[in-house]
């Protein structure tokens, strides 16, 4: 009788033990957004289960050779007047992360940008006088056409900028898998129509065809934030 009682107790306690362990084992995980601000050699890391990092790159200096007209599909010197900034982003965590760029506190009229997340951003040669459209402008036009097929030769300036802004806000991001790196290239330029009143000694590069000195009398600064979010949170959707 005693042995039977003992056996019964063992079964009961073993069952209770298994149920308790199962309860804690089957708890749903709760991750969290984690914010960290740092700017270390422009290398951004985001860690285990840290799903969002906002990195501020402050007080970037821009060196524009001239202004340009983005909507002009026949402009040949666009590539020579842009200013490129690159940021290396590294996912050292265990979940895919969606990475995108945002600008804020921009000072200076007419500053525009587009972001690329691959290694294939063409490198313009400022010394070369080109007789055809540069590879970078080609790439930008192709990218925006794929985003919105209204972006074609003949588009008016206002619509071109609207499509560009829409692309930057809703479609320009990369998903970086755990253990992977990505180099983000941000291409900046200045729209001539927005600064023509401020320009005194410079010439409109697109029409004159020859790079001139820096865009005078207009200072530019901006804060560039590289934001990484957990991909399944559908940021930018």
């Amino acid at each position: 009788m005693m042995k039977k009682n003992k056996g019964f107790k063992i079964i009961v306690f073993f069952t209770m033990f298994c149920l308790s362990v199962s309860y804690f084992s089957l708890l749903s995980p709760t991750t969290a957004y984690f914010y960290e601000q740092k700017s270390t050699d422009k290398k951004v890391n985001f860690d285990l289960f840290d799903v969002e990092q906002t990195i501020l790159i402050e007080d970037e200096n821009f060196d524009f050779l001239g202004s340009t007209k983005f909507a002009d599909f026949n402009e040949m010197l666009f590539d020579k007047v842009v200013c490129k900034k690159t940021v290396a982003v590294n996912n050292v965590g265990e979940i895919p992360a969606r990475v995108y760029v945002r600008l804020s506190d921009t000072i200076g009229e007419g500053l525009q940008y587009i972001t690329f997340f691959d290694d294939e951003t063409p490198e313009p040669d400022p010394a070369e006088i080109s007789v055809k459209k540069g590879a970078l402008k080609q790439k930008i036009e192709t990218t925006l056409f794929e985003h919105n097929n209204a972006f074609v030769d003949g588009i008016i300036q206002e619509n071109a900028i609207a499509i560009l802004n829409d692309y930057n806000q809703t479609a320009s991001y990369a998903v970086i898998q755990p253990g992977e790196e990505c180099e983000i290239t941000i291409v900046f330029w200045v729209e001539h129509d927005d600064v023509k009143d401020a320009l005194t000694d410079t010439e409109e590069v697109a029409t004159e065809g020859v790079p001139t000195e820096e865009v005078a009398n207009v200072d530019y600064s901006t804060k560039v934030s590289v934001i990484a979010t957990q991909d399944n949170d559908l940021a930018m959707s």
Binding site: K9, F13, M16, F17, L19, S20, V21, Y23, F24, S25, L26, L27, S28, P29, T30, T31, A32, Y33, F34, Y35, E36, Q37, L48, F49, D50, V51, E52, T54, I227, T229, Q230, N232, D233, L234, A235, S237
Partner: protein, 160 residues
């Protein structure tokens, strides 16, 4: 022999207490979550378990800690409320270990519950066993222990 009895008695009491706790959580309607990241450190850390209870939006207050479902319902995050927009029914949250507020506010319907209490370290069970190899290893060890004890018992009986 005395030590063995005392040991088994202590284990039995512990198991009973844990089981009663689990039943109490079920009956209370609280939901438990295993914390995976340190964004709320030092309030709670990776490996802790947080228990939350449903709350009406109007009862939420600043500084409450809430668990919120992601937009596509694939997971949750747990952060502190820093601002409540009663007109739009939104809450702005921030991790205690973060220097900035979370970039997007959360809608009322995504709030799973408000923090009731947290327990340290118990979440590691879920974190470790989420790895299927760890789970298979654990099941294997349990089976091995059962078989071993049966063999030892059988040998003892034969000798006796």
């Amino acid at each position: 022999m005395k030590f063995k009895n005392v040991f088994f008695r202590a284990v039995s009491i512990l198991i009973t207490l844990i089981f009663v706790f689990v039943v109490a959580m079920f009956l209370s309607g609280a939901k438990g979550f295993a914390v995976l990241s340190n964004s709320m450190s030092p309030t709670f850390n990776r490996g802790d378990v947080v228990f939350v209870k449903k709350i009406i939006f109007s009862e939420l207050q600043t500084n409450d800690i809430v668990t919120v479902a992601f937009k596509n319902n694939e997971g949750t995050f747990t952060h502190r409320v820093v601002e409540i927009d009663n007109d739009k029914k939104l809450v702005y949250t921030k991790g205690d270990n973060s220097s900035v507020v979370d970039s997007a506010p959360s809608e009322a319907e995504r709030i799973v519950g408000k923090l009731w209490f947290s327990l340290p370290l118990l979440g590691y069970l879920s974190i470790v066993l989420a790895n299927r190899y760890a789970l298979i290893s654990l099941v294997g060890i349990v089976i091995l222990l059962i078989i071993t004890s049966k063999i030892i018992l059988s040998i003892k009986q034969k000798k006796g």
